[in-house]
């Protein structure tokens, strides 16, 4: 009953019918695309601002500080002030840089993260496109960002930038494997790559609980590997401010820098949302076995709240990593992937396939 109450598909289909009432089919699709695009851009900007604020507050908690608290109530307007500063800042042209690629790079990075956002299920029926290869699609587009980072490093014509970009290239290409394999673990469990189906399969329990230890291993591998994939500490070698000053975006200023900055935070959100969707049941409420009363109360919390709770929980963990761990060295980073995470995920996936074949999971 209550899950129908919060079903967004009734709302979306009523909008669709209302639009169809006075438009031809082609125009309806066009209008919907524009609407969704605008909504995403708005969400993107607000999310970016909020995540930067959140990071600064979380970091402050970790470091015995108060964090931003001057602009607006609890410093809530601080990031908006920062954004305005970035917008009106001069874009410094770099002599001897490859102008076209230099300007193109931030857009590639940000478009890659925008595209990944399209397939995320925020709540029941609140999903722009429900691909039957949703997991695969997100994996594919989120790895496009590395092209932008490599271009940024190359086109800047700066020594620090190119070291940062090369590190980032090696890192993302390697860790992509572990991310993919750990997601594949749950794809085997649920038997589908469609994100909505994966979520439906968790109605009676999240995969991290249902999937025994292998699912938990896959979750941990995913968390580590995806932190590396989005270039965040302790794997932020591409930026490594104590070694490379700012890595691949050393030469960028103003709004172009803001694009990299924003893309980093949006990528963090995407990774966290993916982890929440695949391992923690997405927008499914938290249920415990046969506690009917408890489950019923949980059902009253809207799915979108569940989704964001889980996502921000993962985001908090990723931030916690960043502010407490030292940075790895490039060879240690690659060792961790190729000698530990990849073999573990490979064995894990074979084990899961075996579990599923024998029907030993819930």
């Amino acid at each position: 009953m209550s899950s129908n109450l919060y079903d967004f598909s009734t709302l979306t289909s009523s909008i669709h019918e209302w639009l169809s009432g006075f438009m031809s089919a082609g125009w309806v699709v066009f209008t919907e695309l524009v609407l969704i695009g605008l909504l995403f851009l708005l969400f993107f900007a607000l999310l970016g601002l909020f995540l930067v604020y959140l990071e600064r507050k979380v970091c402050a908690i970790m470091q015995n500080r108060v964090g931003p608290n001057r602009v607006g109530k609890w410093g809530l307007l601080q990031t908006i002030a920062d954004l305005i500063k970035l917008l009106i800042k001069e874009l410094i042209p770099i002599r001897k840089s490859d102008k076209f690629l230099f300007n193109l790079a931030p857009f590639i990075v940000i478009i890659a993260s925008l595209m990944a956002m399209a397939a995320l299920p925020f709540a029941k029926g609140l999903q722009a496109i429900d691909f039957n290869i949703g997991v695969f699609y997100i994996m594919a587009v989120s790895s496009l960002g590395v092209v932008g980072i490599l271009l940024a490093g190359w086109a800047s014509n700066s020594k620090y930038s190119i070291i940062g970009a090369m590190r980032s290239g090696a890192q993302i290409v390697s860790y992509e494997l572990s991310v993919g394999l750990s997601l594949m673990a749950i794809v085997i469990f649920s038997g589908s790559m469609q994100l909505s189906t994966i979520i439906e399969s968790q109605a009676n329990g999240w995969w991290i609980f249902k999937g025994h230890i292998p699912a938990f291993i896959a979750f941990v591998v995913f968390l580590v590997a995806s932190t590396a994939e989005i270039n965040r500490g302790p794997f932020d070698l591409a930026e490594a401010e104590s070694e490379l000053t700012a890595g691949f975006h050393t030469e960028y200023s103003g709004i172009k820098f803001a694009f990299f900055f924003l893309a980093e935070y949006i990528n963090m959100f995407i990774v966290a949302a993916l982890a929440a969707t695949i391992f923690l049941g997405g927008w499914m409420p938290f249920h415990i076995g046969s506690w009917e009363g408890f489950n019923h109360i949980m059902d009253f919390v809207p799915p979108i709240v569940w989704f964001f709770l889980k996502t921000f929980f993962i985001i908090y963990i990723i931030m916690w990593f960043k502010w407490t761990f030292p940075r790895l060295r490039i060879d240690q980073l690659l060792t961790l992937e190729w000698k530990y995470l990849l073999p573990i995920s490979l064995v894990n996936i074979v084990f899961i396939a075996f579990l599923v074949l024998m029907g030993w999971h819930f």
């Binding site: 970790m62 470091q63 086109a155 500490g233 104590s242 070694e243 060879d331």
Partner: protein, 375 residues
């Protein structure tokens, strides 16, 4: 366009890649420049370029009187300001053959040890930052603040004190001095284990620092690497033990030695020195004798003709002061043997062959203070 970029970026036939770390770079802790030759990520060799903050302190000293020189020594190793002051004062007192009151000796030793703890706290903070653990900075500075408060209460200044004068102290310490130090020791004994929890035990940190920047005992002696950096290589070079000055002959303490000679060994030496400094403080703080805060001094200090030498152990190593006097109120020539100058030049020897990230870790573990190098 892209061919031009390749030519600009890659220099030399063997695909050597020369980058300048500094003079404005987050990991050099000041205006120091390393000309680093890289092959891929591996450091082939490194040339330190110094002098960006050269102020000619030694030359300036030739024109000013001895009490005025004190104020310039603060500006060398600003993190061991008390100890630098003490070095010149001891040298002048030895030349004049003045016996300073016991109270002065005790207070000077306490100040030196407090200064050493404060310096090591800041080193720990910055070292963590070099390795990418940004939270250490705030932990270290939080505790350093307590020491600076003690300093502020007694001398009114927090960083550059110029409190120790030839013959004694500038004035007596604040009545709260002993109480505040005891409070600090109780506080810091609880907080120091947090440092280990946050950084020392971390597996990433250990992997980053163990076996990196290996410096043998022979290398340390050959390059004159003193202080905790030298003791991390097993070289017993603590001036407090070898040639005790002030009240160091009245306290029981151990010289911290590690034999591995890597970055982690230097780290451990400094961490243990903080504990040991607290032990020294505890032995001294309750036993400060009553008495004058200064010996009787002539209004104008003139050193007899001759050469005078004094060395002390700062937080970074051996600081030696060499004064040549021609009997005037200003020195004929003064020379400071600063620890960081010697410690810096071992960098090339101990970083070649390691990765660029290790270079940052090693330079952090040597705990360089750039104004002390350039003087």
């Amino acid at each position: 366009m892209s061919e031009e970029i390749i030519k600009d970026v890659i220099i030399g036939e063997n695909e050597e890649y020369i980058i300048n770390m500094g003079p404005q770079h987050p990991s050099t802790h000041g205006v120091l420049r390393f000309e680093v030759c890289l092959q891929g990520e591996t450091v082939k060799y490194l040339i330190p370029h110094i002098g960006y903050i050269h102020r000619g302190i030694e030359k300036m000293c030739e024109a000013i009187t001895y009490p005025q020189i004190i104020h310039l020594t603060d500006r060398m190793d600003y993190l061991s300001a008390h100890i630098n002051n003490e070095a010149v004062c001891l040298c002048v007192e030895n030349a004049l053959q003045i016996e300073v009151p016991e109270r002065v000796k005790y207070i000077r030793t306490i100040l030196a040890e407090l200064n050493r703890i404060a310096s090591h706290q800041l080193w720990w903070s910055a070292f963590g930052m070099d390795l990418g653990a940004l939270t250490t900075f705030f932990y270290g500075l939080r505790d350093r603040e307590k020491i600076l408060d003690i300093f502020e209460e007694s001398f009114g200044s927090r960083l550059l004190h110029s409190f120790i004068m030839p013959g004694g102290l500038m004035h007596d310490v604040h009545p709260n001095f002993q109480k505040r130090i005891k409070e600090f020791i109780a506080y810091f004994r609880k907080k120091l284990p947090e440092y280990d929890q946050l950084l020392t035990g971390n597996i990433i940190f250990q992997n980053r620092s163990k076996g990196i920047g290996l410096m043998s005992r022979e290398t340390a002696i050959a390059y004159g690497v003193t202080g905790p950096s030298g003791r991390g290589s097993g070289w017993s070079c603590d001036i407090r033990k070898i040639a005790p000055y002030s009240a160091y002959d009245k306290v029981q303490f151990n010289e911290m030695l590690e034999t591995e000679g890597d970055t982690f060994a230097r780290y451990k030496v400094r961490m243990r020195e903080m504990w040991e400094s607290m032990n020294i403080l505890e032995q001294l703080v309750d036993n400060i004798p009553e008495g004058d805060y200064t010996a009787k001094m002539k209004p104008i200090i003139k050193l007899p003709v001759g050469e005078y030498f004094q060395r002390v152990e700062t937080a970074r190593g051996e600081l030696a002061v060499y004064i040549v006097s021609d009997g005037n109120k200003t020195p004929y020539r003064i020379k400071f043997r600063t620890p960081n100058f010697s410690n810096l030049f071992v960098m090339n020897k101990i970083t070649s062959g390691y990765k660029i990230a290790d270079l940052v870790a090693v330079s952090g573990s040597l705990d360089l203070v750039i104004p002390d190098i350039d003087r």
